[in-house]
Amino acid sequence: MFLLENVIHQYDGQTVLDMPLWKAEQGEQWIMLGPSGSGKTTLLHILAGLLKPTSGNITIAGQDLGTLGAAQIDHFRGQNIGIVFQRMHLFGTLTVRENLLMAQFVAGEPQSEERVDEVLEGLDIGTKKFAYPAQLSVGQAQRVSIARAVINRPKVILADEPTSALDDRNCDKVLELLKKQAETHKATLVITTHDQRIKDAFGNQFNL
């Protein structure tokens, strides 16, 4: 679950985000809609603890982020929040397997080959375990980035425009996988998009 209260973010003196309240229960799946420049990404980054808002309270999985120090927020994010980016940002010098082990290492979780296999199988890319990101198709790479987001069993999964780079077939598939992974891990899912193809895929909509 998460709770945002009176979150205001200013950038260069201008208010780019003003949100009185947003509450999501554990396991709910949300879509955040809004045109480009409406602050979707900013809100997502605030939700992820990547960005500290000018004011307001954020509670994620029962933890008030305002009470945590910088390094503690980083650690909390690694353990509880999985993020899928529009551009996948996989480590190009590491194999798929190493990318996932890296996510476990950085989050301070024990590195588990079984868990890597399990997640890759769940996303149907077990055969790409030893491939480098450059050897993957866009759809495969997006699945790896989903795998990386869920490997530490997060309480919240955040996906920033995960489908905008994909064709229709891959778009549906990725959406489906994200939903399935969120259900498997009983995680709260938030997807930001301006992609008209997917706006009706979720019951919970948040409009910016």
């Binding site: 940002h89 480590f91 190009g92 989050a107």
Partner: protein, 450 residues
């Protein structure tokens, strides 16, 4: 997976940059290590050969030349001195031991030294096979001489006039090898030892049994022997604190050997001559008194090895410092190289770094990650530098071993290397500081939103 593996994965991708930086750093380190090894071994050898010798007495000239020719057998001698003068020195109460040396001939670039048994005894040289020289024309050769010339006990050879190859041979006076010395790791290994009388004989200086006044180029010396009756045959006998008596019984022969460049005729009238005398003092006070009084009151020159060695090392030191500065310049260039490589890498990798933050890495961890990478470059440079430095030293040592004097090995470590290694590692870390700080400050939200 860990930071080390991640850093290595980036370094592997940047092969050329890595190669260049490693090489630069490696050469810088190798240069400094080579110098360290060289000066340590050179200094040790110099000290080992001069150990226990408090003063060298010879003809007037350059004191450094006297030390180099008398102790190290490197330079040409300054000239000859009358044996009687040396014997006077022996009578001095402050003198413990006097070892006379007669130089001037060589065999295959190895110097033939006419001396007494006290000379090998000073370097604690033991006979490995055969015996120590005794009679005339007998020679005991150093280990290195035996190894490189192939001479062994029972062989004969002809000494050449002069200290470099190509001198005129003394064919009428072949030497017979009667013994080979065990290696001593001193100048002794490279010498051919014989008695003073043998050297005099070879140069046609008549005395007792050997009577061959030929050898035209010494004719001035040869005719001196008319005056032999004025020589004092018992001069060796009244040595007060005698070492072993000279193997040449009564010295009746006229002047000895030519010693390098100086014509010996000038002082020939005074009797038999030697080239230098190595002197050990009986009391430390002699160090202050004797050299000064010899230099001011006699025709001889006295030089103290310690002082001349210090002078020499000061001279050589200028060269060494210059090369050392060059080594540090190379290391500094490597530092710049590592800095630029990391700086660029951090720009290229800003998404990766932001992603690491997104995955839960703290700023501090990112900072360490970049520092670690600088350290890895440094470690690789150190490994290359150590291998190169010791390898090149060993190769130089191998090449020079057949040439002269210098025994150099790369298979040794000196304590100073630890500091070079630490400096190199610190260099790597320092080069990484600014890029690491940049990575530390990266605004992840902004980077990822790009």
């Amino acid at each position: 997976m860990n930071l080390l593996k991640l850093s290595l994965s980036y370094i592997r991708r940047q092969k050329l940059t890595t190669l260049l930086n490693t090489f630069l750093l490696g050469i810088g380190i190798a240069t400094i290590i080579l110098l360290l090894l060289f000066s340590a071994q050179f200094g040790e050898k110099m000290e080992r050969d001069a150990k226990g010798i408090d003063m060298v007495v010879g003809a007037k000239g350059s004191p450094l030349q006297l030390i180099l020719s008398g102790i190290y057998h490197l330079d040409v001698p300054t000239g000859n001195i009358p044996l009687s003068e040396v014997e006077k020195l022996r009578a001095n109460r402050m003198v413990k031991e006097v070892i006379p040396l007669s130089l001037g001939d060589s065999y295959n670039q190895f110097r033939i030294v006419g001396t007494t048994e006290a000379y090998p005894a000073h370097y604690e040289a033991k006979v490995a096979s055969g015996k120590m020289f005794n009679g005339t024309s007998e020679a005991t050769i150093g280990a290195q001489v035996a190894k490189e010339t192939g001479l062994k006990v029972g062989d004969t050879f002809v000494g050449a006039h002069g200290l470099v190859e190509g001198g005129e041979g003394h064919h009428q006076h072949p030497y017979k090898v009667v013994g080979v010395l065990a290696p001593t790791n001193t100048v002794m290994d490279r010498l051919i030892l014989t008695s003073l009388a043998s050297v005099w004989d070879v140069h046609g200086l008549p005395h007792s049994e050997a009577n061959k006044p030929e050898d035209e180029h010494h004719s001035d010396e040869a005719h001196d022997h008319e005056e032999e009756t004025t020589a004092k045959p018992d001069s060796t006998a009244n040595v007060t604190e005698a070492i072993k008596p000279l193997p040449v019984p009564p010295i009746t022969g006229p002047p000895a050997v030519m010693g390098g460049a100086l014509p010996s005729g000038a002082i020939a009238e005074s009797g038999p001559e030697v080239t230098v005398a190595l002197v050990k003092f009986a009391s430390p006070i002699a160090t202050v008194m004797l050299p000064r009084s010899i230099n001011s009151q006699t025709k001889l020159q006295a030089a103290t090895p310690a002082q001349q060695l210090a002078n020499l090392l000061q001279l050589v030191g200028v060269g060494i410092s210059t090369i050392r500065v060059f080594g540090f310049i190379l290391m500094f260039a490597a530092l710049l190289g590592v800095f630029i490589a990391l700086y660029n890498a951090i720009q290229e990798r800003r998404y990766d770094l932001a992603m690491m933050r997104a995955l839960g890495a703290s700023r501090e961890k990112i900072f360490l990650h970049v520092l670690l990478e600088g350290l890895i470059y440094a470690i690789m440079g150190v490994i290359v530098g150590l291998l190169l430095g010791h390898g090149i030293t060993e190769i130089i040592g191998q090449v020079l071993s057949s040439a002269n004097q210098v025994e150099l090995t790369g298979l040794r470590f000196v304590p100073g290397e630890v500091w070079v290694i630490l400096a190199a590692l610190a260099t790597g870390v320092i080069a990484a500081l600014i890029p690491a700080f940049q990575a530390y400050r990266t605004d992840i939200a902004q980077t990822l939103a790009d």
